[in-house]
């Protein structure tokens, strides 16, 4: 199937007083119609910047953007502001992390929804209001028509996120970008919102990009997963592949640091050691090497490219460890060994600290 969205080698740099921030570096992915891509990564890994750039919302004066964002074959990075306005909130909609602050506190919900509808559909105000009420009902807000006259502060966080979703979907977008839509909500509400997104997606056949730092969230709803680290995609592939046979040490770290129902109870949760790198002075070689328990001497100097793993062109990884060895390490980790033990098992003796000192 022809991809709906094709991001090619997207790079975003911000020039600041402290230096150039490499927020997004050579990110590529595709999303097919009706499918869901999960983008996972730690805070600061460039998830929001990359998706805001797709929407043309990173036109900050200090931003330098290269690459291509092909939506339906048309490069959005070359589109005029005028053209982008017809795309935003129309064929591509976006919802954000914090529903508490994402709605205008002084306008009624109805007005904010009607505005979104009328921006993209030539309909009367009354028809737009009907549409708004219909959408509110669809996202599960009881007594929808009456609630049009409410202000955002009269809704709970979960309800507001429903309103945001209604606003995003009111113009039948072909793609919805949800940037950490559940992070600010409590756990039961999180599950409801995810369920809602999944249900609406299958009903309305919308493609979704779901951004999160929580692999547990993407496990529920996505078809494909892209793992971002330090502005780059370090691993990408079908969800089942990523969970069954993850390839990148960072992905392993993410998987080992989340509680999952299918892991034995006696296995401890292992957080990823170290802190996220600076995006101004990035580590040499593989950007993950200072935190990688399996680091090899060449990791410090050679910057790996994103390569498909053997026998699976859909699953790509950015890592210098040979495929066979990666398989063994993951098997060890899955069996419950700690990263240090797994590293020794794999014959890796050099301490990561030493390795980076030697560089």
């Amino acid at each position: 199937m022809a991809p709906l969205l094709e991001v090619k080698d997207l790079t975003v740099r911000f020039t600041t007083e402290d230096g150039v921030v490499n927020a997004v570096d050579g990110v590529s992915y595709t999303v097919e119609p009706g499918r869901t891509l999960g983008i996972v990564g730690e805070s600061g890994s460039g998830k929001s910047v990359s998706s805001l750039t797709v929407m043309g919302l990173t036109r900050a004066r200090n931003a330098e953007i290269t690459g291509e964002v092909l939506f339906d074959g048309k490069n959005l990075l070359e589109a005029s502001e005028q053209e982008m306005r017809t795309v935003r909130g129309g064929p591509i909609a976006m919802i954000f992390q914090d529903p508490m602050s994402s709605l205008h506190p002084m306008y009624r919900i109805g007005r904010q929804l009607v505005e979104a509808v009328q921006m993209h559909q030539k309909v009367s105000k009354a028809a737009a209001r009907d549409r708004a009420a219909e959408m509110l009902a669809l996202v599960g807000i009881p007594d929808a028509r009456r609630r049009l006259d409410s202000y955002p502060h009269e809704f709970s966080g979960g309800m507001r996120q429903r309103v945001m979703i209604a606003m995003g979907l009111c113009n039948n977008p072909r793609m919805l970008i949800a940037d950490e839509p559940t992070t600010a909500l409590d756990v039961t509400v999180q599950a409801q919102i995810l369920e809602l997104i999944r249900r609406l997606q299958s009903e309305l056949d919308t493609a979704v990009i779901l951004i999160t730092h929580d692999l547990g969230v993407v496990a529920e709803v996505t078809d494909d997963i892209a793992v971002m680290y330090c502005g780059r995609i370090v691993e990408r592939g079908p969800k089942d592949q990523i969970f069954a046979a993850p390839q990148h040490p960072y992905t392993w770290g993410l998987l080992k640091s989340i509680p999952r129902l299918d892991t034995p109870r006696d296995q401890p949760l292992v957080p990823i050691a170290g802190r996220p790198p600076s995006l101004i002075n990035r580590p040499t070689g593989c950007h993950f090497h200072p935190r990688c328990p399996y680091v090899r001497p060449e990791c410090v100097t050679v910057d790996p490219t994103l390569e498909p793993i053997p026998n699976d062109p859909t699953h790509v990884v950015r890592c210098l460890i040979p495929a066979g060895e990666r398989k063994r390490i993951w098997a060890d980790l899955k069996a419950g060994r700690t990263p240090a033990v797994a590293a020794v098992e794999a014959g890796i003796t050099n301490d990561p600290e030493e390795a980076s000192d030697g560089a």
């Binding site: 929407m55 919302l57 502001e81 982008m84 306005r85 017809t86 795309v87 935003r88 909130g89 129309g90 909609a93 976006m94 954000f96 914090d98 602050s101 994402s102 709605l103 205008h104 506190p105 002084m106 306008y107 009624r108 505005e115 979104a116 921006m119 993209h120 202000y151 502060h153 945001m164 606003m167």
Partner: protein, 317 residues
């Protein structure tokens, strides 16, 4: 809301009572000019002074004077009579009030509009040459004293003394009759009074806007595909609300008299009245205008609070 307003009104009354007590103490008990002496003429005789004191009632014990002053105030809303020219203070204030109101309402419209327009453009074009010029001149206007600005404008534009005689100058208002003639005569005073306020409001709105435009809901507005104009309107809706509060208080204070502007342009308003009263030691009038100022500030701040509940739906009383 209703009970809130009533509660606020009761507080206002209590506050006014306190203020009248304080003004009474300041002007009657603390040493100041003896009104009887002021009235007695060039070579007063002791008997003459005593007679005047008796006539004014200032020979009575202070507490008794306070009591009758308050009684008049509370039961008859009577501010007393001027010791100097024996006219009724309340009547004088009401007589002067329209002039002050005309002056400040026109000026407020000018400064609010100018402040919002300049502040918005400055914030949208932040860092541009326009922004720099606007904010630089704003600083100039904020620091320029009104009487100096008044003189400069008169020197430049007044039709009697000015280099470019375009506008009616000093004293024109007092001489003008009819709404349009008066408005015409007020153009210059309006500008002078509005200048510093416009500058302050522009800076305030600019900084509010810069803050608001970084809010998540502005990003939402852009993500909906709204054109820049509408996005700015969303921002302005939030940024302007605090400005309305400030406007209310500023107007309240000015209703008590735009002393400098009224003095420079000889506008017979309440400010001018206070100014003259102070010069002449006219205690009753000073007391009256002070109390009137307090009343104006209290009422406008009540109006502002009520208005705020309409402007910001999150505020409920």
């Amino acid at each position: 809301m209703g009970t809130y307003i009533i509660r606020r009104l009761l507080w206002t009354i209590l506050l006014l009572f306190l203020i009248s007590a304080i003004t009474f103490v300041i002007f009657n008990i603390l040493p100041s000019a003896d009104p009887a002496l002021l009235r007695a003429g060039k070579n007063p005789t002791p008997e003459g002074i005593a007679a005047i004191r008796q006539q004014l009632g200032t020979d009575r014990p202070k507490i008794e004077q306070f009591w009758s002053y308050m009684k008049d105030l509370v039961f008859h809303f009577n501010f007393g009579r001027s010791y100097i020219n024996d006219v009724d203070v309340k009547a004088t204030i009401l007589d002067r009030l329209p002039n002050t109101l005309f002056l400040i309402s026109g000026a407020a419209v000018i400064w609010f509009t100018a402040g919002v327009v300049i502040g918005t453009i400055s914030s949208v074009k932040r860092g541009s040459i326009w922004d720099r010029v606007a904010m630089g001149s704003a600083l100039l206007f904020i620091s320029a004293p009104v009487y100096w600005l008044g003189l400069v404008v008169t020197y430049l534009f007044s039709d009697d003394l000015g280099k470019f005689p375009l506008l009616p100058g000093v004293g024109a208002y007092a001489a003008a009759h009819g709404f349009f003639a008066q408005a015409h005569a007020l153009i210059m005073p309006w500008m002078v009074l509005a200048a510093a306020f416009a500058a302050i409001y522009a800076r305030l709105l600019r900084s509010n806007m810069l803050e608001v435009m970084g809010e998540d809901y502005i990003r939402t507005a852009r993500a909906k595909g709204l054109p820049g104009r509408s996005v700015i309107r969303h921002g302005l809706r939030s940024a302007i609300t605090p400005l309305v509060t400030v406007l209310g208080l500023d107007v309240g204070i000015l209703v008590g008299g735009a002393i400098l502007t009224e003095s420079v342009f000889s506008i017979p308003g309440i400010g001018r009245l206070s100014f003259d009263a102070i010069q002449r030691g006219d205690l009753q009038t000073i007391q009256g205008t002070t109390l009137f100022l307090a009343l104006a500030v209290c009422l406008t701040s009540l109006v502002v609070d009520v208005l705020y509940a309409f402007l910001d739906p999150r505020v409920r009383y």
